[in-house]
């Protein structure tokens, strides 16, 4: 079930004419409206937009955790109707189990899925080395910094080698330096694993640095107002990309679009 790039010729994620309304007792809010988005296998698509524009809702829809009011969703060519298992999910908060060590937090993924223990253990050790957590396997979450906790969450999301990785502002709560480090690491992990990534952020720099394509959303009700292909080669170095003229141009365009209220 878990080859990194599915052999399907179709899209990894396909959203068509998606609208989501939330009904509360008094009011009815439209979270996202008329969103169509296709992510091909191996792509790294970033969605950037103001707070509350329904970006996170989109990810939950892809994961099958929220049902859209109208429109269709498919993941790896299959319609999404219930919580999906072919995905890895990283949230803004690490959401680790306080009582489990780093290693056992990562292995939670295998235990819940009933994966083979020895295979999972080997894979966990690989990921621990890959994300620089070596030496902290036995530490408890509260003993780690925010950046390291988020690395653990990333390892947990990658343990079962999901074809699609969904990330909801994964580095939003971290300081700028840690965030840059983790961006570089994520870029490398994405190239190494070939996983399809759909990442939501409100940082323009992060969206452009990580994405092969940036989708810009409007304020609520969220719509995708423009798509920017990022024509920077996939292997990216933070300092280099930041001083790249193409990066500047894209970031400026996106900033203008978002600053203008993105109403067109």
């Amino acid at each position: 079930m878990s080859t990194a790039t599915p052999t399907l010729t179709g899209a990894a994620v396909d959203l068509t004419d998606l609208t989501v309304r939330f009904q509360s007792k008094r009011s009815r809010t439209t979270a996202v409206t008329d969103v169509s988005l296709r992510v091909d296998p191996g792509e790294f698509v970033t969605i950037v937009g103001p707070s509350g524009c329904g970006k996170s809702t989109l990810l939950k829809i892809v994961a099958g955790l929220v049902a859209p009011t109208s429109g269709t969703v498919s993941l790896l060519g299959r319609p999404v109707r219930r919580p999906q298992q072919d995905i890895g999910f990283v949230f803004q908060r690490p959401a680790l189990l306080e009582w489990r060590s780093v290693r056992r937090n990562i292995l939670l993924q295998a235990e819940m899925r009933g994966l083979d223990r020895s295979v999972a253990a080997r894979r966990a050790d690989e990921l621990i080395a890959l994300t620089g957590l070596t030496g902290f396997e036995k530490a408890l979450p509260h003993e780690l910094s925010g950046g390291m906790q988020q690395r653990v969450a990333l390892c947990r999301a990658l343990l079962h080698q999901p074809p699609v990785l969904l990330m909801d502002e994964p580095f939003g709560a971290l300081d700028a330096l840690t965030r840059e480090q983790l961006n570089t690491e994520l870029n490398r992990i994405w190239r190494d694993t070939g996983t399809t990534v759909l990442l939501v952020t409100h940082s323009i720099a992060e969206a452009v640095f990580l994405g092969t394509r940036v989708e810009v959303m409007s304020p609520r009700p969220g719509r995708i107002v423009r798509t920017f292909p990022v024509d920077i080669p996939p292997e990216r170095d933070y300092a280099q990309v930041m001083s790249d003229a193409r990066f500047d141009r894209l970031a400026t365009q996106i900033r203008r679009l978002l600053g203008a209220g993105a109403n067109h």
Binding site: K60, A63, G64, L65, P83, Q84, Q85, I87, F89, F91, R93, A95, L97, E98, W99, L108, Q109, E111, M112, R113, A129, L130, G132, L133, T134, G135, F136, E137, K138, A139, L140, H142, E143, L144, S145, G147, M148, D175, T178, Q181, E185, R188
Partner: protein, 306 residues
């Protein structure tokens, strides 16, 4: 990327191992220094903290004890109302086996009542958390049952179940049940919704999610509920004995009172309190073993700061 780990280790908090060199993390799998080391100093500081916490109440107790002793020896109140500590001690040693037999009865009733209350309370909490319908049906009844003064229905219980073990256990359960339910519900509801989402994408069933995520998360809340419950269970058992019994500390208390045997009454009171204190300590120890990871139970310093 390997040097990143080294960068991180430079940010480790090392003030708890001042003499040691800054810990380094190597790719060969060195463990983070300062993790579980220095048990000796930790035990020492724990003892100091304990003494620091205890000397004030100890002093107050000693003063009260001295006041009691003084008042009783000088017979400001007659000894059949206020016995001297010496008289209480004499009764305690003379009637030791009699008192122990009755302490055992009360302890037995209390423990059974507490365990049943814990199990029933947790079960009810699970039902309330997992089923909206049951929540609507059961929660109001639990609340309503709580406002009925349980002590007032003790005579009824004796009429129904006789003077044996049953009415005491039932009363202990009824009194201890409520805090378990309330803390259980609060604990089970405290699970991070993102963890539940995550669990759903891992394809885990409700039982696995309960076992691995929700129940451990509920434990800190639940344990505080159990601490309240265990002290209440003692009250339940003793009140049950007051109303109708042939043995137990509650029964002995009534007899002592009727005979104006103040020394026996005091000895009995001490033993009752002792049951409560010991059972509370047992739950406290269980808590320390079950949730050493919880914020309320750790005094350590984080390994990494940045």
């Amino acid at each position: 990327m390997t040097h990143r780990a080294a960068d991180q280790s430079a940010g480790l908090v090392t003030d708890d191992v001042p003499a040691a060199a800054p810990p380094t993390v190597d790719a060969a799998g060195g463990s983070p220094a300062g993790g579980n080391a220095r048990p000796a100093t930790r035990a020492g500081s724990r003892l100091l903290r304990l003494l620091e916490a205890l000397w004030r109440p100890a002093l107050l107790l000693a003063a009260l004890f001295a006041g009691w002793w003084f008042a009783a020896e000088r017979e400001y109140m007659p000894n059949y109302l206020l016995p001297t500590p010496g008289q209480v001690w004499a009764t305690m040693t003379e009637d030791w086996s009699f008192l122990m037999r009755n302490t055992y009865v009360t302890l037995y009733e209390t423990v059974i009542g507490f365990v049943l209350a814990a199990l029933l309370g947790l079960g009810t909490a699970v039902l309330i958390v997992y089923s909206r319908t049951l929540e609507k049906a059961v929660y109001p009844i639990v609340l309503f049952a709580q406002v009925i003064p349980k002590i007032a229905i003790a005579p009824l219980l004796v009429a129904w179940f006789g003077v044996g073990l049953t009415p005491k256990v039932v009363l202990a359960v009824l009194i201890a049940f409520f805090p378990v339910v309330i803390s259980g519900v609060a604990g089970l509801r405290s699970t991070d919704p993102e963890l539940l989402d995550l669990s759903a994408t891992m394809g885990a069933g409700p039982w696995k999610t309960f076992r691995k995520i929700r129940f451990p998360h509920a434990l800190p809340h639940l344990m505080s509920g159990l601490k309240v419950a265990v002290t209440l269970a003692v009250v339940g058992a003793v009140v049950g004995e007051f109303v109708g019994a042939e043995e137990g500390l509650g029964y002995v208390l009534l007899v002592a009172n009727g005979n104006l045997d103040a020394a026996l009454l005091f000895a009995d009171l001490f033993l009752m309190s002792l049951i409560g204190i010991v059972l509370f300590a047992v739950v406290e120890v269980a808590e320390a073993l079950l949730i050493p990871w919880h914020a309320s139970r750790r005094g350590g310093v984080p390994l990494a700061t940045s």
